[in-house]
Amino acid sequence: MMNCRRGCFRALTKRMNDVLVWIHGDDLNPQSRVLQAHPQAPRVFVFDDAVSEHYQLSLKRIAFLYECLLEIPRIEIRRGDVFAELVAAAQEHQCNRIVTTESVAPRFARLCAKLRREGRLAVETIPTEPFIELSAQENARLDLKRFSRFWNPLKARALSLNQSFDW
């Protein structure tokens, strides 16, 4: 009896630690780092009704995204409010952790915060392979005032293959 209980409990905790991969519009690569890190995990994309409305998206944009999604094995495609759909998907798949690709969109940051705070889900973001590998110091020193100021210090490195091969 005790054993069984402990066993069941263990199975449950294990399941409850499972990862849900959240696929979003900034990373529809079926070979993404996130999918490679969690090949077995359920993966969900949500068409955000608020975003479609806000940007007045036309059908061809949605069709393009959809075709990208259909190449991701076992993808679950949902639509509605992203927060609510992700929480529902996490419950269905008994996951308490969301792993997703980093995005610069301010809406993305707000959603991650809400998932942690109100959804009570752990959220981990994974960056895509950087265009050019930069140290934290170099990143901090970048001047974004004009393109030339950003690009001149990086140019030589970005145009050489060797460095990029060894990272």
């Binding site: 068409f47 069709a63 393009f64 075709e67 999604l69 610069v104 393109f147 950003f150 145009l159 990029s164």
Partner: protein, 267 residues
């Protein structure tokens, strides 16, 4: 709500999407020829010719890559496209890699400013005040009914294909902002509705670059420039060619016409 993921063919998928995303289909039910997905992206990548890019990219029929929608949605990463281009083109791929860097740059600016991407980064250099610009895109522009063969063709192509060549984007944006004196935000919203690569960072900041709220001077062009890089295909059949083409003139003449209050010479 869960959506369907099994389809027999593209037609079945599109029929389903038209019935499911009714509001989007009502805005414009065109679908692009360009296919989504990694397989399609890799096929497009195989076609790129970074060696020929620098010399031809400004021409509407130049060898540009058409990778933008795949890059925008991360189907391909900038890092892998950069690597591929350098392997194929070596030193000659410099210009192409520099254009990839523009995307990286705009993304970094977006990461820093967030929602302010919709606000002027700097004050404009056109001599006009913000209040001199009209809100909202005029119907004749969106409906491709200005009577200007070039601009109407670009508007039609934008709606039908979700893609425009970079030079066409620049001309169209300049027409909207400087000739029609519309706020850049209205044009940027219009582009985001249709462009498969539509991205608040690259899009809005490029509009601001044209408008001069993120550059040292406004971008504008004249007819010679458009004719040269289009082989005159629009001008040839345009009713305005000899009759009030708004783009006809030297850069100095156009500056005087478009920006009479500017206190600097742009050239």
């Amino acid at each position: 709500m869960k959506l369907k993921t099994e389809f027999g063919d593209r037609e079945e998928l599109l029929t389903y999407l038209r019935a499911t995303f009714t509001a989007a289909a009502a805005r414009s039910s065109d679908v692009a020829e360009l296919r989504g997905g990694r397989k399609a992206a890799e096929a497009v990548l195989q076609q790129i010719q970074p060696q020929r890019y620098a010399a031809t990219r400004n021409h509407l029929r130049g060898t540009v890559s058409r990778l933008s929608a795949y890059l925008r949605h991360g189907v391909l990463t900038l890092a892998e496209v950069r690597r591929f281009a350098l392997q194929r083109g070596g030193k000659q791929a410099e210009k192409f890699v520099t254009e990839l860097a523009w995307r990286e740059y705009w993304q970094r600016v977006y990461a820093k400013i967030g929602r302010d991407i919709w606000k002027d980064r700097e004050s404009g250099k056109t001599g006009w005040r913000p209040a001199d610009y009209t809100d909202g895109l005029p119907e004749d522009i969106a409906q491709a009914a200005t009577g200007l063969r070039c601009m109407d063709s670009f508007a039609t192509e934008l709606r039908q294909t979700g893609y425009l060549h970079n030079h066409a984007r620049m001309w169209l944006a300049a027409y909207v902002v400087h000739w029609r004196r519309i706020r850049w935000q209205a044009g940027a919203r219009w582009f985001l509705t249709h462009l498969l690569d539509g991205d608040p960072a690259s899009n809005n900041l490029s509009w601001q670059w044209v408008a001069s709220t993120f550059s040292v001077k406004p971008y504008y062009f004249n007819r010679d420039n458009l004719e040269q890089f289009t082989d005159g295909v629009y001008c040839r059949t345009c009713q305005h060619y000899r009759n009030g083409c708004p783009f006809d003139g030297s850069y100095d003449e156009l500056q005087a016409r478009l920006f009479p209050r500017a206190n600097q010479a742009y050239e």
